[in-house]
Symmetry: D2
Subunit: 435 residues, 4 copies
């Protein structure tokens, strides 16, 4: 379905060649200041055509709030947002070749198999343009996350083709054990990342090499993939719902829903499989004292977690639940399927095959453009998990404090001995005063 | 939440030390023969303690159907299944050390942060025992998938620590371009995989080395991770729901919900980022004639897709929708957090730290045990997507056939020229006769 | 939430004074012809201001499809529809009195209690204007229901104040036992109902009296309530999901979600409580042979049910599941809260009270306007239940036929005797050929 | 589906003749004391066979908690509960007559139409035994509602056949204008209601007459319907989700999901259609000072609403949202379909008809037994709406306070004049301190 989230519920619509694309966001907290000025910047960051390296198709993508705010304040009711499509019928896609051949590794054929109706744009909803609604919705989530908890989400390009910011090595099969990487994710900002537009790799040397590699593929009319790493800082502990909706499960779902994504890893990830448990385990330490953030949570006296971990191979998530340390993950994007090189492929009816050659200019590497979309989906995951946990916390806060010894009878398993050992620790509900 | 799926909806319950674990499965097709004999084998495969390499804790795990069948036939109503817990209060976990220290990289601390109640088993629902309900539910899904479509799901261990069945190389940064790998996934069976118990890597040489490596870690009281690869064969084309519930997104969600998983990649995955688009693109070819499977779908005249792809870097999914080629993916599992080696870590209250040493024998590598759980979650994803698509297809089949030229007026974007070029291809709805 | 339905999922947005109102419809079957011409008529029927009896506020309510169709054919992707608000800031509501006093029996105060933000229109989403999105969505559902199954939905005004078309009597405490009523619901059409605009009561004498009564209340600056009866004909048997989503439960949910509704009864309803079971029970009879409808279902060989009932006190639903007989129900609407008469009431802060007098002309009776909204919600309920059942049926149709005797072992309760008596009737799956 | 609720999610399973019936409850707040002793009393109240007036079938219905609590305290994880079926294969239902004839107004035939499998008990999930899971789940909800907010839910029999506690009259077409009724719902308790077992009508005279009427129908081997009225007191203001999930819509959904229910009305209901708006409107008044309840909400400083209404024709709900006044509603139950009198009806295959006579003793009137089920469903609705609203409130509480004048630019509709009139009332968010 085209809906994401349970508490902060985003429903998107639109394909490349219809009147508009957009979304309805249900569950936005009431009483938050919000105008298009909060939304447009990330829409513009998402927009292609920002440099010679990416596709020059110019979309202005001006967002219009339709409902759910009044005098610049959210009402708590659904917020609909629309962005008009300028090119409602592009010429590149209308040629007769496209009508005969499903494009290799595109969604043309699978959409036809699924729906039995051939849309003029091939796989309409598989278009990157569909992500506009997601990004628009995410800006509302991000504003809330920032105001309430100081949550920051920053994504950046961590590899293009074989060029990696942190290539796996014998010492560090995963960047999660590499201090340089850990330092980067603690500090990197969107400003820093955008200083390296069009590549969006926040390292001058790596960025330059990547730009070269992308240019090389562009000149060859070929394409190349890459990875985006994303960090989420200042996440409260306790987010993520056992057992199916663990925080990493929701992030993986969200990331693999982005067009062209092929993989996801959190914390130590695939490389972590090669690290012994004795090194991989994150020992607990007392959390350092740091000045409280200027957030709603700190003003309302929500405590920060007492503990943190010495290392962070877990990527801020243990047992599917956040522990307060930075969450970080990496997403793989395949080489774009649209290339200028000739490709031999079958017609829709399979009766013959021929050579397909894409006209016009196409994006040789989508990874830099994927950066704001990764951030958007991360924001949608975090706000949903946060609202679920906040709901649990306020529910619990209205219950009487637990007695230390509870005269449980019929439900006690383990007998007298068990009861003696019982240990109800009623401390530590993050975000609520102790009872 | 503890519910997975929209059409084939599985709700699980239970932690290690309560009366029972189990599930309710809602949405099971009525009229399918089903008894515990269909369910128990995979339950037993899931069970630990099958060899010296894995944890010797003996759980019999006998499943009992509570409802939803009569005389061995499904009624279409919810099927509840329960498995009694034998060890309702284990001693290993009840010691005083465990009560003071949250175990590193376990869920003890995050569960307490989330719920504010300390369960005797630490992170109760993060226990591998929670997966019993999933596996029980999946056997019903698997039986249906087999009968209706001949769908086969086989998972196997593809790496332990640094030992890979198909190590990445300059030629094959991803196994998806490696003919040996492609041949394996076309043919591998559960019987073949279980011939290599306890490692479950279907290659004699690799399996032997992996067993050695695991034994080595066991003897060092340490642990190691690894990866599981899974293939799903005979999947109809057209499954997967744009845009948020793409097939790969649902698989990623499902896999990252398995305890200890850290990563997911589909098709060419992370390695595919390093392959040029011109090689990565999967050209379409006419699907070869093969004898129809003995399935409900073939008996009801559901056609197989006309096209297939020459290569399969897409892993059977394009634009989030299956194309009929085998789906394959890989899941990363971290080294188990419970190790015998001493670990310095803080107490719950953070006031002091100390040394934690796990007693008893523990599993040095969970990857072989993860195999049936990966299969289980794959089955739950596929049946849900299948039922969604079947619902769409029958809905559509009751509509009148489309005329080739439609007098669309107000909704036509692109003007007269667009209308001339209109191309409504009404063929190819998989699984339904052409209209 | 602002979402209705699981399979045919409608999400609406918008309040009285924002840019637009509308909806996204997800789950529309692909390949159905659809343009605004299919949608506008019911939008116009919903529109107020059609006569001197209803509110003269003129809203043109032109609907625009934003997405999900191409060349007048549904793509299977989400269909967004918007209707611009003309009066984005009305003056009647902006006066200072309204700012001080919550209007009695309006939603002004409860919206403020809920959201903590005072919208300029009082309870924005409680406005009748919110129903535009519902009606737009329902026209798509209705088109499908008509094409696939010949389903007809007709609502009409059955009472205004104390004037009833079928007043309860000692003989007929419920109209369900009244032959005149049963004959009416078998035959009434929208054309017939609209012949009695503005009252929409399809009986000349009753309609005239009701018009008089409404005029009387209008002239007194007061208001009056009434009831709407709705019939759904040609519904396939088997719709409705046990146990929480019974057909009548979903209809009740839908109807009580309409602004100003206060009650719902299905079949014999409240009056049926007074009828003895021996009269109330609907005996089964062989269904009469009738010429098949020109529908997708009949063309695809879906059989009609073999049985029907002699009487229909059940209102077409038994055990929460449709039996193929007409579904009929009645909905109560309270007198509109906005009246011209002076009302003494407290200010928002409760510190003082005063007299509130509504300016302008207001609708003395909403019942006639509720007619298309009742139809709309009925359509949304029926299509969702239909798609759920169609999904079940196609799933089942791919299973092997059941053997008459099943060697069930461990799940058989009741022992040998039970097995002997076992009776698996594999006939009668409506809509699928027998296996 | 067999799931109810979004936040407090109940999934039930089981039919009359399987191993057990029960449920899984997901979303229970952690840290609440809970044992079977909290659950059993309402289970026992639900149990039939409590007097000569109701069915003598004896079911002990002992509930067992399977998971989700430890040492008598909720963990926040899913709570599974099961109740074993004693009569797993009753003889009354196994006779050959039952196998040939679908029972009139039972679910035998519609279940077969839906599922295509004939269960031995006819419509298995339509059995009243299915409500066990609902009642078990509701006791957890009720305990929370009581502890956190002092919410009380009391249902009672308000009519049997034509005997009404508050018969409609010219003066009071609806009890909502009758002071005696209003006084009753303010004060009635479960103890009072159960003092009138078996009828459960809390009025000695009415109860005696009703008992006589039921006995009369029993002796005639016939059956009769009736209504249950339910009141919910101390509900916080602000509950209910616009626009589809209004409080009354959820209540209607819940009530019409109870077996044998045929109608629902809230507040003034059907009778209210006949009352002029000028009388029907509930004027606001300052809420009287009353001593705070001993609840979690009052201890946490959640304010009570400032206003209440002078009358309560709205039944505590305005615009779909609670206003803090008592919610009350009435549910119609049809005469039980199982009667001893002979009935002529068709066989399953329609080829012949015959006479069906139910053996054994059956319940001549289900209304008294429906009382605890109505309470159960009311509790499930209220807790879900409460948790949704509490989630919204805590989300909002973390936002910065709104400035009185907001420099909204692009989203402001209505121009300068509108901005001047803007009125952001930031008071009155029930349950959170003012910002």
């Amino acid at each position: 379905m085209s809906t994401f989230g349970e508490y902060f519920r985003v429903t998107t619509y639109g394909e490349s060649h219809c009147r508009s694309v957009g979304c309805i966001v249900d569950g936005v907290p009431p009483g938050m200041e919000l105008t298009e000025d909060d939304i447009q910047p990330q829409m513009t960051r998402r927009r292609p055509g920002q440099s010679a390296l990416t596709t020059p198709r110019n979309e202005m993508d001006l967002v219009e709030i339709q409902s759910g705010t009044e005098f610049g304040v959210t009402l708590g009711t659904p917020i609909a947002m629309i962005v008009r499509n300028k090119d409602q019928r592009p010429h590149d896609y209308g040629n007769s070749t496209m009508d005969l051949y499903p494009r290799p590794s595109h969604a043309d054929w699978t959409y036809l198999e699924k729906y039995g109706v051939k849309a003029s744009s091939g796989g309409g909803r598989s278009s990157a343009r569909e992500t506009i609604g997601r990004v628009a919705a995410s800006t509302i989530a991000e504003k809330y996350l920032k105001l309430a908890h100081g949550i920051e989400i920053v994504a950046f390009v961590s590899s293009v083709g074989g060029l990696h910011m942190f290539p796996p090595s014998a010492t560090h099969p995963t960047p999660s054990t590499n201090p340089a990487f850990l330092s980067l994710i603690e500090t990197v900002t969107r400003e820093k990342v955008d200083a390296f537009v069009p590549v969006r790799c926040p390292d001058a040397a790596a960025s330059a090499k990547m730009a070269e590699l992308i240019a090389e593929f562009r000149d060859r009319h070929d394409s190349i993939g890459g990875t985006v790493t994303c960090v989420i800082r200042n996440v409260p502990s306790g987010l993520g719902e056992p057992c199916f909706d663990k925080m990493e499960a929701m992030l993986a779902h969200a990331m693999l829903s982005i067009p062209a994504s092929k993989g996801f890893e959190v914390g130590s990830g695939f490389g972590g499989c090669e690290v012994p448990g004795s090194i991989h385990n994150d020992a607990f330490i007392l959390a350092p004292e740091i000045p409280p953030l200027e957030t709603g949570a700190s003003k309302n006296g929500h405590p920060r977690p007492k503990l943190t971990t010495k290392t962070n191979n877990s990527g801020g998530i243990q047992g599917g639940i956040t522990n307060g340390a930075p969450i970080y993950f990496r997403v793989a994007f395949k080489p774009p399927a649209t290339i200028g090189l000739a490709q031999q492929t079958a017609t829709y009816d399979g009766d013959s095959d021929g050579v397909l050659e894409a006209k016009g200019r196409h994006d040789p590497c989508v990874v830099p453009r994927a950066v704001p979309i990764v951030e958007a989906m991360a924001a949608l995951v975090v706000i949903d998990a946060l609202m679920a946990q906040q709901a649990r916390q306020i529910s619990r806060s209205l219950l009487p404090p637990l007695k230390q010894t509870i005269p449980a009878r019929r439900t006690t398993v383990g007998g007298e001995d068990a009861i003696k050992k019982q240990h109800i620790n009623d401390h530590g509900v993050n975000g609520l005063k102790k009872e």
